[in-house]
């Protein structure tokens, strides 16, 4: 199998409702916007697909992304909410270009990356844990270190700390500090901090720990079931 030089393959894992979908779809869109093509986004939620990319698949495709995802109404008979591997998901890395995986939550989701051909053993995939310290179960350095320890192979952390519509700069920066300390204890890099673009005037291009800041245009608030 030929490895395509320089292409980006990333899997976004993490705690339930930590922001994996919003972060991964924005990452895919920003790769596209920077001129890279093709870019494929994979809805790899095989755990609990009630809040996934499915409802906005067509909208994202109109922007030029390739999106591999079930349409919910096509999953009739495939389990309660269609948590079945779509064949294109298994073979996603055989496509050209960048591939971003939005993975189901927890260790349950992370282990399913084994189903991706050339995924865990292909040498290309980087696995990032999306973390929001406003979720008390991953709210402290100790909690994050303990949690990430259960997830299997991890290449970096992402600080996605926020309070939804009530987000302020304080929670983002506090998140940056906590995630940085947790990352340090695990010998992992902090890849970036992700921030709702509506706060872009309140936080610059790096956060208080010097991590790069990426802006998110929220899509997932329109994506419920």
């Amino acid at each position: 199998m030929e490895k395509i030089a320089d292409r980006i393959v990333e899997a976004y894992i993490g705690e339930y409702a930590s922001g994996k979908s919003e972060v991964s779809l924005n990452r895919a869109l920003s790769l596209l916007e920077s001129g890279r093509s093709p870019v494929t986004l994979v809805d790899f939620d095989l755990v609990e697909p009630f809040y996934t990319l499915r409802p906005i698949k067509k909208e994202l495709e109109k922007k030029g992304l390739q999106v591999i995802a079930w349409e919910t109404k096509k999953t009739m008979g495939l389990g309660e909410a269609g948590t079945l591997l779509k064949p294109e998901m298994r073979w996603a890395l055989r496509r050209a270009g960048d591939v971003i995986f939005d993975v189901g939550y927890g260790i349950g989701g992370a282990v399913k990356l084994r189903l991706v051909e050339d995924g865990l053993d292909g040498g290309e995939m980087k696995i990032f844990v999306v973390t929001n310290i406003a979720r008390p179960i991953t709210g402290s350095v100790e909690d994050i270190v303990e949690y990430v320890g259960t997830l299997g192979p991890v290449d970096g952390l992402i600080n996605n700390s926020h309070l939804g519509d009530d987000t302020d700069v304080e929670i983002i920066q506090e998140g940056a500090r906590v995630v940085a300390e947790a990352a340090k204890r695990m010998g992992l890099p902090v890849i970036r901090t992700t921030v709702d673009i509506r706060l872009s005037d309140k936080i610059g291009r790096t956060d208080t720990m010097g991590n790069p800041v990426s802006y998110l245009k929220r899509h997932m608030n329109r994506s419920f079931w």
Partner: protein, 361 residues
Amino acid sequence: MADKPIQGEKRVFMTGNEVVAWAALAAEADIMYGYPITPQNEVMHYWTRLAPKYGKRFLQTEDEISAGFTTCGGVLAGKRAFTATAGPGNTLMQESMSMAEMMRIPTVLVVQQRGGPSTATVIYSQQEVTMTCYGGNGEGLRIVYSTGSHQELYDYTIKAFNTAWKYRFPTFVLGDGYQAKMRESLYLYDPALKGIKMETTTPYLGLEGMPGVDRDPSHLRNTYNTEEELYEVVSDLVAAYEKIAPEVVEYQTFNTDDAEVIIIAHGVVTRAAQAAVKTLRSQGLKVGHFRPVTLRPFAAQQLRDIVKKAKKLVVVESAQGQLMKLVKDAIYGETVPIEGYLKPGQGITGEEIVEYIKKGM
């Protein structure tokens, strides 16, 4: 073992099911009995992740019939016990909840409504109102709180334990799959910080002393020999319930004083109703909203007083008239016309309520 799970007050971001688990922790619940069913599974998932850190217990039972009865058992043993369910699971729990009514067992049951009847859909409806308020083979001697936000899920789950143990009627927190899965911020707090003292729990069985000598026997019954005996028992239960109802009843009103049209809605639909009232009022239309917070006991007298001056009531619910039945029962005799905007199993937006109301005005 860690100290108190929530110290002080903290702003957080989570899903509704998680809120319930954290609230039960904050309320010092001792044990959760549970059985999985969508959309409430995360209540159990988060409780079992947190339980070991705080010395709490959990038992997964073989089904919801057992989950309901083991909850009764936990309470009889003097523990602050609770369970959670939805849809067909709620149906199965009616047997145990009827027993709780008969024996005045202070159970706490969190219901996250999904589509009905039967298995239907896994996410959302308001179709378990009748069952949660009047299910089983009883007289509906229950207390039911219908929440509309994560903050309320937190506040009322804590309150449910106190209401149950103070008044000794099975108490329910009625949410739905949207509230269960959606994400928003709220404040978690230590109840003591707000002056909330948790009601003491006492066992019904295994009491100290010799029965008949040191104390009365604790003779627990849910069955009686004669019809006359039963009539007295049920009359006493009803009297006790009616006595405490005025203390327990809760409701909210929005612009109802001079309203010509009053929207009646509960649970998560109150958000759409409140938004609709804001829009309609800004357009000069005299519309208000009555929101029952306790569906049982229902704020009947209060609603009666409010509708006397109205020209029309519009009941808005994600069910085929379950809330409407409660309303009609509450205001029987009033001649105000009642319409229903009924969408069983479907979400309702503020915009569609506005459109419906304007068409009729």
